[in-house]
Amino acid sequence: MRPELVELAQRIVSEAGRRGATDCECVIREGRELSVSVRLGETESIKQAEGKSLGIRVFRGQQAGTTYSSDLHWPAVEAMIDSALAIAAAASPDPDAGLPEAAEMGTSAGDLGLYFPATAMITPEEAVSWAARAERAALDCDPRLTNSDGGGFECGEGGKLLVNSRGFVGAVRHSSCAVSAVPIAAEDGKMQRDYWYSAARRIGNLESPESVGRTAAARTLRRLGARKPATARVPVVFDPQTAASLLGHWLDAVSGESIYREASFLTGKLGEMVASPTLTLVDDGTIVGGFGSAPFDGEGVPTRRTVVIGEGRLESYLLNSYAARKLGLRTTGNAARALAGAPGVSCGNLRLTAGATTPETIIGSVANGLYVTQFMGFGVNPVTGDYSRGACGIWIENGELAYPVEEITVAGNLQEMFRNIAAVGNDLVVRSAVSAPTLLIEGLTIAGS
């Protein structure tokens, strides 16, 4: 982070103190991005930008106020400090509000491998070439691939600076890039679309655009001729992407914010068996190169490894310092700081530990059931765990992927679903901050015709 921004943040923190804040925290972000899309071989769009923004949180004792802006000129910043203090005066005193203790703050040791300058130096011409190659590879796979929502490439770099009045100064830089393809297939007057992508912190770690395009093509083609199956209660095999979406819902449920609000089905269940003993769920923000890695969290607390569920038992919630105080626990370094508002809770790298069974064996064990490859909609209730989502996938008959299905829903309850995990695949491939292998879950209701 540029030294003048560090100086600005420190000046803000001390100026807030001079104007009456008992504590102050300042976050500055800057970044630049390039994204391109290519459709049917022609460049469709190129977007480039640079930006920076500032967030200030002040405390007057136990009252907090926050402001944010993209205007980093000093007179505007002074006005932000004043309005943050004015807002804090209107807030209620909250005995649990406040920055983490100085002893809790710090950064995890070592280089986390998050920043690669070359990744952010990609030119628009190179980006267009990546996107075009991915789309071309997809469309070349089969004559039924007649249209496209395009090939895409994006890359960027960013920096985040966090400074507070209890002595914390932390800065982190990161880079990322991704290539994607969204081909469209048509057969008998019906169209289907699917996608694939590869993302990495370093351009050299991306899958080749040809490989991404071919996978996107295969995923699209296998949806052609989809049927609507009859309503039934059957076992469901979740592919790694749909399995990861389940972890996303569990992340909501283990978040300290949901727990202290008693808005989670896991409230009060610490130490209890909440899932199949085959299931272990770990959050780790310190993995080198991880999409969810960072040396410190949104409050300046070092990130760490936390076993959330160990062999089916709920071992820990994920906490920021506020949720921790509300629950009489210690922060787990999972504070998420957006520019606006108080910190929330998020994961580092949340991963479900791989099992020993191959996905082929798992599918082979199902006589009649669903292999689900995509979900739609928002039918998940984190308070009760009730689950009902639109889906598509492939029907399994006698252990074989038989035919594609669509216009169905998959319904159950997240608590029962985690208890009813009958197999965990050995195919954990990390593609984002939340990763899971193939899962087999029994006793779900498929609504169809």
Binding site: K47, Q48, M191, R193, A447
Partner: protein, 478 residues
Amino acid sequence: MANFFAERYGVQAAELETYLAAALSRGGEYADLYFEYQASSSLTLEEGLIKSATQGISLGVGIRVLSGERTGYAYTDDLNPAKILRAAEVAAHIASGPAQQRIAGLNASDLGQRPTASLYPVTQAATDAAMAMKLALVRRADRAARAYDPRVVQVRAGYADELRHILIVRSDGRCQSDSQPMARLSVFCLAREGAQTERGNAGGGGRVELEFFDQEITPEKLGEQAAREAVQQLSAVPCPAGEMEVVLGPGWPGILLHEAIGHGLEADFNRKKTSAFAGLLGQRVAGDQCTVVDNGTLPGRRGSVNMDDEGTPTQCTTLIENGILKGYLQDHLSSHLTRAQATGNGRRESYAHMPMPRMTNTYMLAGQHEPEDIIRSVKRGLYAVNFGGGQVDITNGKFVFSASESYLIEDGRITAPVKGATLIGNGPDVLTRVSMVGHDLRLDQGIGSCGKDGQTVPVGVGIPTLKVDRLTVGGTGA
């Protein structure tokens, strides 16, 4: 009228011409500048405490250059002329060649041009009195929810508003500004009985001033709505699974139209023939009782704007008339490429985003039937009155939307409340199964947000009570 950006940031007509010239310096055919200043504030009451209060400012300029079907886009959050000029030069690179277009001349008076429509008040900067009123709103909502039933154990009430000033300057000489307010009050509740906990949500608002919340949509009404939904869910039975008759109540269930047909009728998808509706213009896509419009001109509504984010006035566009597909939702790019009329649907989340065709307020006109007769006509089905979000795959037409409050209909009577369930269907044919349309058209209370390509914009929806003869309901029950 003076322009906000001229007054506060000294933006002048001559420099705008320079930016446009730089944007078109490599042969682009069209360029526009989008200046935006957005002031936001929000506060949240939880556990009886004002826990979070925030104010923020977002400021920047987006510069777009069109060359055939290509778009170049760059933005900066710094209004320093050198930064804007550089962004214009970056966006210009989408084209390659000598400059072709002349820039229409701008005068200082052009900066003051506003659309002829005036659908919402021009709100003033927030005052201390306003802050006290906002605090009172969330406290009143909290009180009403808790008073509704002793089983209500948690209440979170939030108030958020924003005022967005925009200035659009186009290379064809059009120059327009607008000031767009927005306010929203929302309530989330938990109700508990024994070991069971259930949630309820309600919200309302629009492009309105604070006084709006003392009229029809009061904090008391929203508090009670959220509490009622949570308490009612305590006795809910599992939702049935499978195809059945579904009656949608009036208002917010109009999200059906938004997902099932609205997105599929956005012109970009039809120009590219990636929508399941591509090529269906003039054909039957709904029952003959169904007439659906997208109307950006309703005063004070959340989805309304005096002009879209490309400076085109909004209008009421008929999408489906008596069951026949009549039109698409157009932005500048798609209407230009397909030689269609722009419909005022070119919208964007902010200066950091490219405009694209988006809905405003999408609703079905009232029909003839008594709502009671519609329910009475159902032997066994679902009556859904409140919903969470929805989603659509515009290519195969499949859409979902999730009910948060619904009831069984047995032998023409509304019986037990059921747990939340997702409804799934196929956009191009779901409306052909609409067999009864009520006379009770209602619009939603002003809470809708629509996501597309990572951009969120405020929208409205509405329907009268209507019956779909066959829709798949995704419950767990028999």
